[in-house]
Amino acid sequence: MLLEYIKQPWPWYISGPLIALVMYLLLKQGKDFGMSNNLRTMCTVLGAGKSSSFFRFDWKTQAWNLLVVLGTVIGGFIAHYFLSDGTPTQINEKSIADLKELGIIDHIQGYLPESIFIFNGSLFQFLILSIGGILIGFGTRYAGGCSSGHAISGLSNFQLPSLIAVIGFFLGGIIMVHFLFPLIFA
């Protein structure tokens, strides 16, 4: 009965406070909540210190965050295979109509549109995934954080820089969805 309930998509008023709980649990361990820092640490582990002093630090001081990442991967696995009933994301009709018109979907399946994320060997897909990745990696480090580090950690501590960063997140997101999607997918 309970498991059946857990397997449905969780409502926002459950999920939001739980994300704050994760921040609290990390603070209790003496650590700051922020996921994008891991990308820097991974670069250091891979030897990026040879090309830039930005990556010259003892990555073992950040090993705890890599363990959080490992857990996040395991968590995604558990949620997908054991705690889901496979309900596709239910978004509003207008957005579905827009996605159909852009040719991104013909119907909603799972969490990700197949036309982009089920790899068919096309250069188009590869460019979307790779350019998207570069923007995420470059942007989060330039801004000094992502949704967790700025929108939750920073804003909850009333940091003006985090508010500016979050405004930037939305500026970029709006530009992409409203102006670039029609050009990319037309």
Binding site: L18, V68, L83, A151, Q159, A165, G172
Partner: protein, 137 residues
């Protein structure tokens, strides 16, 4: 033992990201179209709860499990880096539907193409590292 705690916190985080649908590309798309309350509800309640937690920790001077006082660091003051960097990240977030947390949760869920996004996110981070001194902050 300590390591296990961090892995468990990560597992909890991964499950929340996946079950909340914050890891769904579609949710990010409609968020940036301002057509659904769902993501704003998640961020809003996460933020409200986090504000209360931070205030309690500060006022009661709570300590962490090592007995050290929990401290909050102020971010460096600037506009350019946050606005420009934030906008660049926003473009990537909307395109791939994944910010760094959900990226890892989705890889765990078996969407291996997100591995391509991860490899290039590392490349992007590395690019920032080598260009950092030439960029306005």
């Amino acid at each position: 033992m300590k390591a296990l705690k961090f892995i468990l916190i990560g597992i909890l985080f991964g499950i929340i990201l996946y079950k909340s649908e914050a890891a769904s590309w579609y949710r990010i798309y409609e968020m940036f179209q301002f057509r659904s309350f769902h993501m704003y509800g998640i961020i809003g309640t996460a933020l409200t709860t986090a504000i209360i937690i931070v205030q309690i920790i500060k006022r009661k001077r709570l300590k962490d499990n090592n007995g050290e006082q929990i401290v909050f660091h102020d971010k460096d003051k600037s506009i350019t880096r946050y606005l420009v960097g934030g906008t660049i990240f926003g473009l990537g977030w909307a395109l791939t539907g994944a910010c760094p947390g959900p990226l890892f949760a989705l890889i765990g869920a078996g969407y291996w193409t997100l591995g391509i996004v991860l490899i290039f996110a590392l490349l992007g981070t590395w690019l920032y590292g080598i260009l950092r001194n030439k960029l306005p902050h």
